[in-house]
Subunit: 345 residues, 4 copies
Amino acid sequence: MIMFNCDYNEGCIPEIMDAMVRTNMDQHPGYSEDDITERAKALIRKACGREDAAVHILVGGTQTNMTVIAASLRPHQGVIAPATGHIARHETGAIEAHGHKVLALPETDGKISAEQIEKFCADHYRDESFEHIVQPGMVYISSPTEFGTVYKRAEIEAIRKVCDRYDLTLFLDGARLGYGLACRENDLDLPFLARTCDVFYIGGTKQGALLGEAVVITKESLKKDFRYMIKQNGGMFAKGRLLGLQFETLFTDDLYMKYSRHAIAMAEKIIAGFAEAGVPRYSNSPTNQQFFVMEDEKACKLAEKYGFSTEGWIDDTHRLVRFCTSWATKEENVEKLLADLKLMA
Amino acid sequence: MIMFNCDYNEGCIPEIMDAMVRTNMDQHPGYSEDDITERAKALIRKACGREDAAVHILVGGTQTNMTVIAASLRPHQGVIAPATGHIARHETGAIEAHGHKVLALPETDGKISAEQIEKFCADHYRDESFEHIVQPGMVYISSPTEFGTVYKRAEIEAIRKVCDRYDLTLFLDGARLGYGLACRENDLDLPFLARTCDVFYIGGTKQGALLGEAVVITKESLKKDFRYMIKQNGGMFAKGRLLGLQFETLFTDDLYMKYSRHAIAMAEKIIAGFAEAGVPRYSNSPTNQQFFVMEDEKACKLAEKYGFSTEGWIDDTHRLVRFCTSWATKEENVEKLLADLKLMA
Amino acid sequence: MIMFNCDYNEGCIPEIMDAMVRTNMDQHPGYSEDDITERAKALIRKACGREDAAVHILVGGTQTNMTVIAASLRPHQGVIAPATGHIARHETGAIEAHGHKVLALPETDGKISAEQIEKFCADHYRDESFEHIVQPGMVYISSPTEFGTVYKRAEIEAIRKVCDRYDLTLFLDGARLGYGLACRENDLDLPFLARTCDVFYIGGTKQGALLGEAVVITKESLKKDFRYMIKQNGGMFAKGRLLGLQFETLFTDDLYMKYSRHAIAMAEKIIAGFAEAGVPRYSNSPTNQQFFVMEDEKACKLAEKYGFSTEGWIDDTHRLVRFCTSWATKEENVEKLLADLKLMA
Amino acid sequence: MIMFNCDYNEGCIPEIMDAMVRTNMDQHPGYSEDDITERAKALIRKACGREDAAVHILVGGTQTNMTVIAASLRPHQGVIAPATGHIARHETGAIEAHGHKVLALPETDGKISAEQIEKFCADHYRDESFEHIVQPGMVYISSPTEFGTVYKRAEIEAIRKVCDRYDLTLFLDGARLGYGLACRENDLDLPFLARTCDVFYIGGTKQGALLGEAVVITKESLKKDFRYMIKQNGGMFAKGRLLGLQFETLFTDDLYMKYSRHAIAMAEKIIAGFAEAGVPRYSNSPTNQQFFVMEDEKACKLAEKYGFSTEGWIDDTHRLVRFCTSWATKEENVEKLLADLKLMA
């Protein structure tokens, strides 16, 4: 079975494994108070062009989302998000478990716009009963989105302006940030994100680390006491040196981007191959997640040799499927997939 | 200013005020452990035809909703509700503050159907990632709804069947239950509700009491330790005897229904008068809340003498307005309103 | 049965009942946005000498405590309180249900000192693992305390200084504030409390109202959006005019203090009578709650005619009992109690 | 610097690192739904002698504690724990953040007894106001404790009986379970724990894994839907195969116990050496954490070459220090430490 299910089917990039083997018996203090982590944070601050940013490396995405959001909001506030956003759909209510409503807006290709957010906030304060309604306190977006699409610089800048107008914290989930930065459509970079968002994170788990998401905080009030919040949410990893080591490695020799670019190259090969085989795309994702509409029969046959995920049903005989590439995707496996697909066409 | 804003513009029915005056200096233990409350509970159990029901009288609607829902759900569960339901829209996220997502379904006239709930639950368990999604654990409906409409017996029975299939607790918010039971469309009664719902409440605040909602619980596991939950949610009223006294009064001499019928008669007068004046209705509410589409100009003129609420905007020159009647509505005030409206037509 | 169980065995002072009867059919908007409430708030602000204070009248004590504390703390913070404080012992974990640990300090007669708080905070920040420990964010005290004792001005001023040093919000629970202000030991007044605390409340329920606690907030950041917090916690009372009416009445013609003084006079009579009968006091409470150590046999006999509460057991044959007086306590009933006690001596 | 700070100063046992290197590029589904994890769970179920046990491997200790406790309790319930228990002291209020009070009992050497729990529960239900007080719903103990001491079989059996009497869930935190099982005092084993507790966990992070705690659940109602709870608490690790791989390795060739025994041997060497040097012990820990009372001057000098933790202050010139051994402790380092200590004597 060759798997294209997700971008975490393998372990980690070889450079990380080498570093782990090399440092395994070194002694370090726990809870991310070690030198390796300090070096990793310095590399990230430098890449973001923000010496004043607070950087924390947490274990996983859901944990990061819930910690950042819980640390940001007062109890009566909610977080605006696209209806398909990870926090809205796929975290078993972790945000609600922290007391906050996810204020879901209709999405287009996984994205929401400044106009939508503006209207939502204006409507809130225009309502006679506004105090009986959850107050918008934050905007959560992800880039790439759940559908693989990316935000453009101008879109995020416009959202920033609305956030300023309504006193909203702007939070960008970058679980797959590298794949976004490496794609053809991209016009973002880390300094822009650090400058424009209040807080965002640079994904590790889906980008070649075993685990780890690096949170970059520039908003002063959110920096304060953030480590207490990490601990309370079960994210104060005892052997924090491993998180540091992985991000130190990823941010050395441009590895983070190098591996991201590989995944994009493989994704583009899949796009081309599926087009050739006449399988229609579902979203215009330029990143490592590719969505297609596939006949059930064909999907079942393909599933005998390849792993991929079914994301939903289009009609009685067609389903929505997702193929992911990653830093680990082997070109020969893509070629096998495309060859088999061609045979079915 | 004559107010039709809501059904809580006045104090309480005179019989309650008399009872309060009469018993004011009597001594009773606190926290609803008094004889008056025992009598009130017995009257309610009898009216419901369920000697085994647990009855608790809480202070207000939001408090009742959050206490019942928090007592019912495990942390990973959410509550299915119409998108316009009170818990979904108008409780400042009280349910989320207790850790639970409100799983909002699109509504029709404030109602959701058994078919919708069935589909939602089936979709949940069919999803590959169902454990990453909030599990449906409860159904919340209200009758009358936020739009004044009522559920029919067959509709609730159908919902009950879905609840049995998916192990969902069925909870009916009856903040305006009397007005529903008194309307022409009604085919419900208290014994039916006690038999079909796991828990429901009989509203007092909007039905002629100063405050108080009587919760009727028939589900065994929910009865257990419910008073702890009341206390934790700030609902263990020190002078609980007042809650008991009000419900004892309401359930004596058929007062609850008598006053409800008065409100319905006044509402029907309003329906007829507005129709005559050519003001279009917005919903087919047969109860004490009446919704109309009104020209802004007309609404502003009417607002000089009458209180009513603006619920939204239909277009640039029309708004959605609500006029409420209640146990306290004076017929002469309705006549003044209709006369003035007629003059504007 | 003559009850000395608590200070909420009766309804309300006659002046409140009169005002309710008089205004019962007046129409007012809901949710404390009425004129009566405005007048009550103005009277309270004036009595506190703080025109800038935000005043909100909530339904009950537990609800007030949980709303104020939830509105004040960030998630990783806890509230310092005496181990016998109401929030620590008698609210079924309402504070924890809002996510916050009650940091209980050993009490003396229900009180904690500035020195204790200082030491607790200093120890916190000295700990190597301080980020793994709940951060102190607030101090909760009540005056009178659960044992009827009162804080002196100098004690509260000293606590204020510690709060300033460690950035703690100072919150005083005044559920029985009037009884404290009326006692011989008192050197507090409302302007002092408004000046020294960040937030405190003036109890109504135990002081002659049917229900209601008037919260006075002087801390700016806590004023913001407080009504959202009230609603989220189920405390946005539909017929808020009743809360306003009761506090308007209590703060007219010095009624709040007049009735408080009556309760103190009755308590002093009890102190003298019990001393005469040789029943030892348990605390030196100068207020309306009086604690005694009583032989079981005597207590059981007394309980045939009088209601009072057993608060614990001293040894195998003695118990700790509480007798409360209130605005409603009849002198003849106190005399009957003392006469019967004398016969037992 | 040679570190004895804690049992997580190094990476992982070499066998785990080898397994990770060997399987790094293998493809596996995420979220612990892989074959390796299945094998690890089977090994653990077998070691526990309970084929019906549910086994889940979570990322870390705090996360495990909060997930298990949140999954077990209803909102009005709290968890009984020793005052020095990890959940009571060192998780930044994670349990309270989930809504539950930690009901802290005074401890002796980190332990609480069946008698204490019995008395606490009996007192609860005897209190007139029991519904105003958090209901005990669970018992949390750890073995080894925070002071390195261990529970005996008879002690846990006695606690089990109290749990049965009061319907309490019994939860044992085994973050350092192997070190307990390997010590001279031990009379526990995994089948006993699986039989006697409702849920317990076998620590990995402090026992030679990079991360991971294996939860063993035998209580039926707690098994249900546990994976939803893991996800909601941010513990559904994307690359779950790593958790499985580590526990598969630890439970192969008796490695878990082999490495635990090494730590105990090193600890015994430290006990002997410190005794020889005349440094008094603070607790009678038979496991890998050793506590001593040390003169400040001596401690400071030692700290120039060795890492260890200061846990508190005994008096003005003495402190409480902790030295940990682990699977990774090198005998030569212990010998250096003892030699230097001897020189200071």
